[in-house]
Subunit: 452 residues, 2 copies
């Protein structure tokens, strides 16, 4: 039998970053930058005000004190977006809003809170009930009641990025902050790795679409739905096909059509069922003559019978077993990392954390186990976990602040790892990975877990 | 000033679970079940085979040994999906595939690997190159070479769930395993809380769409893009509007139209900009007469000026400040939890973890800080973190297995927390929350962090 990690590596290697495409900003969300993004201009583009207030010459207000204000003539009114460039000469100031360009001559900003105008303010109508009314005034001189240092409350051009800087690196996942930064650079599009489109094929003559009345022996197809959702969750588009019949010729033709692009772009195919030693194992039969596809037994439970490879047209194929829990576990450890690689990610494995077994079970000798696992209540452990965080850190209220990495976990089903326990699978929060050389898990054992 | 947690609670409380709707299975993905899902039938629906092999009467093969096989006449051939119900009488067996109903009379399954047929096998053409050929045969008797206990390799009806069991609980987030379980129950639809649709309005006369040539004083709108992506990331649909002008009358009309449903269903409105003490603070001006909306200063940096409430039609509104880092931080701590509540989730806060400061900075006295933070290289800490996991657990190769909860972090920008540093924000992995009573972070301090 092939080792779990060997097969994981082979399965993952079938995914390679897809070609770059240029897409609109929001269409890039969840995709990965395929090229560095360089800024053409400094950010900020010009010195600008960090506050609502008055642009001044700092030397003019060096002697200002609350009870001995300095009066400056207001020569301009600079909203953010103003294209005016009034000169601020000695003895003058320009009213300025946050973000507006600092006018020539000015070298500091006095926040409006540190000023008091000589005339009545018009600010009342724009200020909320619990705000102190700031000292805005038209025409009247502004009274500055505190000195400011040169550069005070000024955002310097280029302090976020200089022209020519790489602001966003190839390989970065496009999240909201990346979208925001790209927009700030004036980019309406981003160059990203194309989103994979993955065909999902569930096989089995016993399967009928959910909602269809069942004859004796029939069951609803769940694998094509589970896989479609899992593919989507992995950030790929999905073409769901199935259930298909157990006719190897028909399946061979379907796979060839997918490989030839007859169903649109298909970057990979995931099948379920038909890879074991049964007489009706349709996937094995359909692909038996494909030199690029191998069927192997992997030292893992569930999910021992596996196949993978490439069809003649180069399309990767992963053939998973047919039991729902096997499908879910196999997708997680074999297919998902490859799909993330297609998207251009390099960190494609779920982070694993330590957990503590809150139940005991036996595991198959010589095979690793990928056990659907559920976070248990802390009381499921006889003793409190060792690394509980200091209570002082939980002072902020209303938080789900769990500092304890030693989460108690138990199998999702009290029935253990039965690969048909699809209802219990839905109660799992993730999977525990038990190495092949462990035959038994005892309460309190440290486990390696990943959450899904 | 209002405390951070008080405002967080008020902002979160504006989100309430949206009404239930029935949607197709895959459309339910990412939404939250609004009703328990009960199974009408037992799962599995009938006793069925866990293996490819032969359904037998265990008593018939009690004496079987590898060198003294028991021969049984094969009376039927049961593929999964077969509706046949052949009687397995003493001395007979039925060939059976995984998942096929156990035929009447049989009480155990002998895996094909434990049999050897008397005649030539036809299995070669369906088996892969590295598989042992199983002993399938037509017509010939099957030779059983090992005894099996009653019940062996039989999946009992109802062992996953009994008829009437609640299989999926209201409040469960619909992931791939939930989709799979629902399909297994024969459900083609699920009842979920409706997905929120959130309007995003960026204000500011200085803003132009990204890609538009800039006059002096203009900058590209980034907030409406950042917020649209953040809303989408929070699982809601988005109606992106903006940038809008600084005319309070026009903005008042736009908000009233959104509240009245003139732009389709709108479950909430997020604005950026125009809530400070400036003379052009358009959002404050537009909403000054709304009794259901309040503007407050919150003891947090960035993001001090905030507003929230409900418009006359009941639409929640969150008015965030205009600097991009303030927008991102305010969305995270004030808006996102409310959107998750609308989706029907109850665990709406990002999990917080401990981290170690790899940099030092001062924080504003009397205000909490929501600092864009970046995971630093481990070498950024002088000493190794205390809780490094046992190396033995990292034995599985190829894993990003980090057991150390004490991640070193540093501010996303060496310039600190400037709320205009949008390019640096894109380098953040999350935010560190520094309590209001902390004025200074030193290297090695324990921090509370959440990843985004």
């Amino acid at each position: 039998m092939r080792g779990l990690d060997e097969h994981r590596a082979a399965a993952r290697a079938l995914g390679a970053p897809l070609p770059a495409v240029e897409v609109d900003l929001l269409d890039a969300q969840g995709l990965v930058l395929a090229a560095d993004v360089v800024t053409d201009s400094a950010l900020p583009r010009w010195d600008n005000s960090a506050m609502d207030g008055y642009a001044v010459r700092a030397a003019d207000v060096a002697a200002a004190r609350p009870d001995e204000p300095v009066a400056l003539r207001v020569v301009a009114d600079l909203a953010a977006g103003s294209s005016a460039t009034p000169q601020v000469l000695p003895g003058t100031a320009a009213r300025i809003m946050t973000g507006a360009p600092l006018p020539p001559g000015a070298d500091a900003v006095v926040p409006v809170e540190l000023t008091g105008a000589g005339a009545a303010s018009h600010a009342d109508d724009v200020c909320a009930r619990d705000e102190p009314a700031p000292a805005w005034a038209d025409d009247a001189p502004v009274l500055v009641r505190q000195a400011v240092a040169p550069g005070a409350h000024v955002r310097r051009a280029g302090e976020d990025a200089a022209a020519g800087d790489v602001v966003l690196r190839a390989g970065t996942l496009t999240g909201s902050a990346v979208v925001g930064a790209a927009a700030s650079l004036g980019r309406a599009t981003l160059v990203v790795h194309r989103r994979p489109r993955i065909a999902v094929v569930a096989t089995g003559d016993e399967l009928v679409p959910p909602g269809t009345p069942l004859r004796h022996g029939q069951i609803p197809d769940s694998n094509s739905w589970l896989l479609a959702a899992a593919v989507s969750d992995a950030g790929a588009d999905v073409l769901r096909l199935g259930p298909t019949s157990d006719d190897p010729v028909a399946l061979r033709l379907l796979l060839a059509a997918l490989d030839a692009g007859e169903h649109g772009q298909v970057d990979g195919i995931v099948t379920s069922g038909g890879v074991s030693v049964g007489a009706y194992d349709v996937v094995k039969a359909a692909l038996a003559d494909e030199p690029g596809v191998e069927f192997v037994r992997v030292a893992v439970q569930p999910g021992k019978p596996q196949g993978l490879g490439r069809l003649p047209g180069g399309t990767p194929v992963w053939t998973l077993p047919g039991n729902p829990v096997s499908v879910a576990a196999s997708f997680e450890v074999f297919v998902r990392p490859a799909l993330l690689r297609m998207r251009g990610l390099t960190d494609v494995e779920r982070p694993r954390v330590r957990a503590v077994a809150a139940g005991a079970w036996r595991t198959p000798p010589g095979r690793a186990q990928v056990m659907p696992a559920r976070r248990a209540a802390p009381s499921a452990l006889a003793e409190p976990a060792a690394h509980a965080g200091p209570a002082a850190l939980s002072a902020l209220t209303g938080l789900a602040a769990s500092y304890d990495p030693r989460v108690p976990v138990q199998p999702a089903s009290a029935r253990g790892s039965g690969s048909h326990l699809v209802a219990r699978l839905a109660a799992a929060h993730g999977f525990a990975i038990i190495p092949a050389d462990v035959d038994e898990v005892r309460v309190g054992d440290t486990l390696e877990v990943f959450w899904t």
